[in-house]
């Protein structure tokens, strides 16, 4: 039989199979259980309240605070500049581009740490990076930043410096009072396509 016919007999059925079968879209971004345990034990996903306050005071554009509580709780009080993505609706299509991006740091927070950590685990296993958790949540935030405890005069210099910073931050961020409940519009994020990791950059043929 002519080689051409052989070839045709092989590639046409293969092509038909490919045309019929749906494409494979599983991507191995997940952390293995061991890696995940190591990660959470080391607390690498945490942003301390001091760090966040620092970024807020400096109006650092790379920070996005995400309130994972329900809408009502968000309306009552939320951190300045935070957007509201309730945990229950986190998988909705409209939030995907906010959660899966590589431009800014998303810091989840809730009242304590349970819900924000849940949000973190969820998004991490979807393969989204750049998501973090506010250490201690709002409760800790109020204790440390909003109402910092005044160190005694015999404390080390760093303690006093930290206290001064927190006092200043709490004033800049609205003091101990409730932040205006105006629903702040979520920050404008450029439409980023789900990004594959580093592509082999081999230009020029």
């Amino acid at each position: 039989m002519k080689p051409r016919i052989y070839l045709a007999l092989i590639i046409v059925p293969l092509g038909l199979i490919l045309a019929a079968v749906p494409a494979n879209t599983t991507h191995p971004y997940k952390l293995s259980p061991e890696d995940l345990l190591e990660y959470v034990n080391s607390g690498m996903q945490y942003f301390s309240p001091d760090e966040v306050a620092h970024m807020l005071v400096n109006k650092d554009p790379s920070l996005v605070l995400i309130d994972v509580r329900s809408e009502d709780e968000y309306d009552k009080f939320h951190l300045p500049g935070a957007i509201n993505i309730p945990l229950a609706s986190m998988l909705e299509e409209q939030w995907k581009d906010y959660l899966n991006q590589d431009l800014r740091y998303n810091v989840f927070y809730s009242n304590g740490t349970v819900n924000s950590n849940q949000a973190w685990m969820l998004t991490r296993q979807l393969g989204y990076e750049n998501n973090y958790v506010l250490q201690g949540g709002l409760n800790f935030w109020v204790e440390t930043i909003m109402n910092p405890t005044e160190p005694s005069s015999t404390s080390p210099v760093e303690e006093i410096a930290k206290y001064d910073f927190r006092k200043g931050a709490s004033q800049a961020l609205g003091g101990g009072s409730v932040v205006e409940s105006s629903k702040q519009p979520a920050p404008d994020l450029p439409k980023i396509a789900p990004r594959p990791k580093k592509k082999r950059v081999e230009g020029g043929c």
Binding site: I11, G15, L18, A20, P22, T26, P28, K197, R200, E202
Partner: protein
């Protein structure tokens, strides 16, 4: 899980060594299929020798089928594989100039190296000409740079541009290619030329 280099399964040095081996395979196949002869290469444009058509399209189809099937079995992650970016006008004009070079010189860079390594002197001159051409481009680069970097369309794939699935486009290409093979065989019978 491929590509091996991305997931750090092999080191950069192994990568270069394997590149060498892959090159050996490449050169061997090209030369043994007859791509070291400028006359055979130019034959596709006159009908008397359509080896370029057959090898080219068979290789492209085999590669497409192979990569897509490997992706189905999760042996390779196609998101990590390099896809040529599309700079519309520089590709078009560059392609046209290359076409003129092809019919004039009868070689393309890859085949010219093959031919040169088996002793074809015209291939050596072709390679020399290539270096001159690159030098001309380098000198003209400041002028050409905006054109060279313009009309960037990202890295679309043909299925994305056409709006069909990958498999459907591959099937279409297979059908078109088989048609071309049949036409090629007919042309070879109709326009035979003495070999020299």
């Amino acid at each position: 899980m491929g590509p091996l280099i991305i997931n750090d399964i092999i080191s950069q040095n192994t990568n270069f060594f394997l590149a060498f081996l892959i090159g050996i395979g490449f050169g061997f196949v090209l030369e043994s299929s007859g791509f070291s002869s400028s006359r055979k290469l130019a034959g596709v444009f006159y009908g008397y020798d359509t080896v370029v058509l057959k090898v080219f399209f068979t290789a492209a189809i085999v590669a497409m089928l192979g990569l897509l099937f490997m992706s189905l079995f999760n042996w390779i992650d196609l998101d990590m594989v390099y896809i040529n970016p599309t700079y519309l006008w520089s590709t078009i004009i560059g392609g046209a100039i290359m076409g003129a070079g092809f019919i004039t010189g009868g070689f393309c860079p890859g085949t010219s190296f093959c031919a040169a390594s088996i002793g074809k002197i015209d291939a050596l001159f072709f390679i020399g000409g290539m270096f001159i051409g690159i030098a001309i481009f380098a000198e003209a680069y400041p002028l050409l740079e905006p054109f060279f970097k313009g009309s960037f369309r990202g890295t679309p794939t043909l299925p994305q541009a056409l709006g069909f699935k990958d498999g459907v486009v591959v099937l279409g290409i297979i059908v078109v290619a088989l048609g071309m093979f049949w036409v090629g065989e007919w042309a070879e019978k109709k326009f035979p030329r003495e070999e020299y």
